[in-house]
């Protein structure tokens, strides 16, 4: 089984923990990492890259000191080593300008507003992971129980 990572980024400890808790469903097959800043996330990405591990998804908060979530995700979107990595922005206070920038530059895959519904987050992550695994050509059969069936059928058809 390949090691596939999900990275959560938020400067508030409680939010980070709550995202992790919601994603616990995936933890037996996927590795869930917590980062408290964009810089921490970028360092982690370098590390994963050197180990040739997959980074399937980055869930990031928008407003963080030093480097914002949109800036972080834009940087990831431009780096060809992380082609295909799914990006989810989790935010409460985004202006319309932020949203437009996020979609255009960071090539966001999904947008979720705080406070989120855990079920909705779970479903979103399921779909994004399924897309990532198929697009990357990873053997999907091993992960099938955690994947989203309709998305899987659509992509394999």
């Amino acid at each position: 089984m390949e090691k596939i990572n999900i990275i959560c980024v938020d400067d508030e400890r409680e939010v980070l923990e709550s995202v992790s808790r919601d994603l616990d469903y995936f933890s037996d097959m996927f590795n869930i990492e917590e980062c408290e800043s964009a810089f921490e996330c970028l360092a982690l990405l370098e590390e994963f890259d050197a180990q040739q591990e997959y980074v399937a998804l980055i869930i990031s908060d928008h407003i963080m000191p030093e480097k914002s979530g949109v800036e972080l995700l834009t940087e990831v979107a431009m780096d060809n080593r992380f082609l295909g990595t799914k990006k989810l922005l989790l935010t409460g206070l985004a202006t319309q300008a932020d949203t437009i920038e996020a979609i255009n530059n960071a090539k966001l895959d999904n947008f979720l507003e705080k406070v989120w519904d855990p079920k909705q987050l779970l479903q979103m992550v399921k779909e994004l992971l399924t897309e990532y695994i198929i697009e990357k050509g990873i053997d999907y059969e091993e992960y099938i129980e955690k994947l989203d069936a309709p998305t899987l059928y659509r992509l394999l058809k």
Partner: protein, 471 residues
């Protein structure tokens, strides 16, 4: 109005007309029905590869299927009706086997190596390390780029190499001033080097593999032997191309910095890739010591990579099967021409014997060079090499000049040197898509390199013949 339908009509009508003509209208004495059908298939192949009404690999498949239907011993019943003029039916296994000929396996091995190298980023990391010594002066950076591109395209497809190098290069080109001719020089350097580099090894580009099909028995050339003359040729041509580029398109920028991110991967899988890569190349080069030929060696990396899950079944789907089919169609065409006896008959019917052999080498190479500029290199080699090979075996006057090896190699090299238009090769098309090059700039470099390249190839073959390396 009609002209847009011609490319569909001609490939259908002309072969059909050839099929129904009486057999004495071709001017070849004793032409059998089978041979006549081979002429029709050959015409179909030529028209389809030149006019491209269907994809070029599809043409190959059509050739193989037509051969199975028209000239195989298990073909359609009314094509097998015994008659004195029928000729020899060809075994269907022989035709089908072209899908899995050793040459196809050699290419498959090459694809596996290239795919693993890309997947484990051996290519980018090597490029980063190898480019360092070239500093930041634009002309030396360009020389470095060209050398690395050429080396990579010896083992990877020219197209994949070009994509990789252009992706490294494009952020830098974007920084150059709009009017700077350096943009043109850098954008051209990559496809030119990729096209030239492919000549260096038997797996560098499909025309080389097709040539191997006709270099058999006493004429066979091993992987290592090919590199002994291929690599120096590539080096000479690269140097010429580099001089041309810096003369014709001088850069006004003082300093250029290629920034390639990343580190060498050190995971067990990555290390397996490195070892297999080096091991395979060494085995290819040392064929005389261990006795395995290049085809057998090529399957070793395939086994290693699938065993260690370096190439998984999803990766398998991404192999360029179209290239393999394209090559096998050419081989099948050669088989038909040879086994039906047509090649020999046709060559005997035309008085090539009176032609001066040097004129023949020059004429055939130039024809191939011109064709390769307009159609795919593989298709050009597929069409010309079976005829050339048949011609060469019957021409005694060619022997003092190195015999068929020299003729086949000259034509093969000419095929790879066709690079004057954006449509000539996929690398050219990719570089043209960058928007930095005008067709006439590409043509200027391409025509000069094509002609100079053919002349350098002649010189090289002359030396090889004089030193008894070949022939």
């Amino acid at each position: 109005m009609l002209s847009q339908y011609l490319k569909y009509l001609l490939p259908v009508c002309i072969p059909f007309i050839i099929l129904i003509l009486p057999s004495d209208s071709f001017g070849i004495v004793g032409l059998t029905l089978i041979e006549q059908r081979v002429i029709a298939i050959f015409a179909l192949a030529t028209l389809c590869w030149v006019l491209e009404p269907i994809p070029i690999f599809a043409t190959s498949v059509v050739i193989i299927v037509s051969e199975l239907l028209l000239i195989s011993d298990k073909g359609l019943w009314f094509f097998k009706t015994p008659s004195p003029d029928l000729g020899h039916l060809i075994g269907y296994q022989t035709i089908m086997a072209t899908f899995a000929s050793p040459i196809i396996m050699l290419f498959l091995g090459g694809f596996f190596l290239a795919m693993a190298a890309t997947k484990y980023r051996l290519d980018v990391n090597l490029a980063r390390v190898l480019l360092k010594p070239f500093g930041s002066k634009p002309k030396y950076v360009m020389l470095g780029l060209m050398m690395i591109t050429a080396v990579f395209s010896m083992f990877m497809s020219n197209t994949a190499t070009t994509v990789m190098m252009l992706s490294i290069l494009s952020p830098v080109i974007a920084l150059l001033a709009t009017k700077d001719l350096g943009k043109v020089a850098f954008s051209l350097s990559v496809p030119v080097a990729a096209n030239i580099g492919g000549i260096g090894t038997p797996i560098g580009t499909p025309p080389n593999a097709i040539a191997l099909k006709y270099l058999v028995n006493e004429n066979s050339i091993s992987f290592g032997q090919w590199m002994v003359f291929g690599v120096p040729f590539v080096m000479v041509m690269l140097f010429i191309a580099w001089l041309l580029l810096i003369k014709l398109f001088p850069t006004s920028t003082e300093k250029i910095n290629l920034n390639i991110k990343g580190k060498f991967l050190k995971t067990p899988k990555a290390i397996t890739v490195y070892i297999t890569f080096i091991g395979t190349i060494l085995l290819w080069l040392m064929g005389d010591i261990h006795g395995m030929n290049a085809y057998v060696v090529a399957l070793i990396p395939v086994a290693v990579f699938v065993t260690f899950k370096i190439i998984n079944k999803e990766d398998l789907k991404r192999i360029s099967w179209d290239v393999l089919w394209l090559v096998s169609g050419g081989i099948a065409l050669g088989v038909a021409l040879d086994k039906s006896g047509l090649a020999e008959n046709a060559v005997n019917a035309i008085p090539f014997g009176n032609l001066h052999p040097l004129l023949l080498i020059l004429g055939a190479s130039m024809l191939c060079l011109v064709m390769a500029n307009f159609i795919s290199h593989t298709a050009a080699a597929n069409l010309l090499l079976p005829l050339i090979a048949a011609l060469a075996t019957t021409m005694q006057s060619l022997l003092p000049y190195g015999g068929e090896v020299v003729l086949i190699l000259a034509v093969t090299f000419a095929a790879s040197l066709g690079m004057s238009l954006p449509i000539s090769t996929p690398p050219n098309a990719l570089a043209y898509a960058s928007g930095n090059i005008e067709t006439k700039q590409m043509a200027k470099i391409g025509v000069i390199i094509g002609i100079v390249g053919v002349l350098v190839a002649f010189a090289m073959l002359f030396i090889l013949n004089k030193t008894n390396f070949i022939g």
